[in-house]
Symmetry: C2
Subunit: 145 residues, 2 copies
DNA sequence: TTAAATAAAGATTTAAAACTCTTTTATTTG
DNA sequence: CAAATAAAAGAGTTTTAAATCTTTATTTAA
């Protein structure tokens, strides 16, 4: 729920790459897929897209791979989500009504405003690089097993 | 996001039926579909399912239709969501990790715990019948146009 | 300057969700 | 009891998301 599968993989990949490339290393797509438990070609597609938007960096050829530079480390998870799933999670109506608004609210409008703002706050206050340390210390995980 | 389309329709339908049947009336499936802007046969399927679970009542034949009795008016939106989309929204990991837990948390675990509990609180404190008045007064809406 | 490594791109397949259509069953009323 | 009405049930179809496979382009290093 909340995010599409694509977006879940995207967030996990971005966090993974950030951690692994902190020291300047580059990470191959196979290693990324293994590191976050995702289908190789699927995450490749997602990263191509994030790469075009500057949320990850990459180089081809031997010793190539993905990495996240200092600038991108400061981008937020909200940017990643926006790039993949769009604005809807931040602004959409909980009951799927397109013209739900302050003046014509759905019955759950104000409740969902609170929830959405909580989501927005969480995602826009977390940068891509924020999790490096906790992952390094084994305090959090982005892999199933 | 958050809910499946099926679930959005389901919630809207249930709220609609609750309001319209408050006085004991029964509402036909066509009227429901029109009242919440949903495909007739699709919402019919959803209501069949909710009916089996006792979240709505129905009778066949002339003057038949759907309604929601006193008991079901007291059921919560959480029950409806659980019936259609399952538990996942209440317990699932924000990053889609199946074995994310307190002891093996994903990087966003605690943040999502807050968000989920907000969703849970909202849905389980709102009964199906809670919106009758606000809909009657034209203070909230469950239809696009 | 060629071979190997690697990401990018494109095309295709699979699976799940959303939606539609047809037939059946139950109920009511004349 | 027959006809009409309305939901239930079942069997599709369409659309979208997810996943896979194949080919191309770029880079490096021998």
């Amino acid at each position: 729920m909340v995010f599409s599968k694509t977006c879940e993989y995207g967030i996990r990949a971005v966090i993974f790459i950030a951690q692994k490339s902190e020291n300047g290393a580059k990470i191959g797509i196979k290693e990324i897929a293994a590191g976050i438990d995702s289908p190789v070609h699927f995450i490749a597609k997602i990263l191509q897209d994030l790469s075009k938007r500057g949320l990850v960096q990459s180089t081809k050829g031997p010793n190539g791979g993905f990495y996240i530079d200092k600038v991108a480390q400061k981008r937020t998870l909200a940017d990643v989500v926006r790039a993949i799933d769009g604005e809807n999670i931040f602004i959409g109506c909980g009951l799927g009504l397109k013209n739900c608004s302050e003046t014509k609210p759905c019955p759950l409008h104000s409740e969902f405003k609170l929830i959405r703002s909580e989501i927005q706050k969480t995602l826009s206050s977390a940068t891509i690089g924020d999790f490096n340390e906790s992952l390094n210390l084994g305090l959090s995980f982005i892999k199933e097993r």
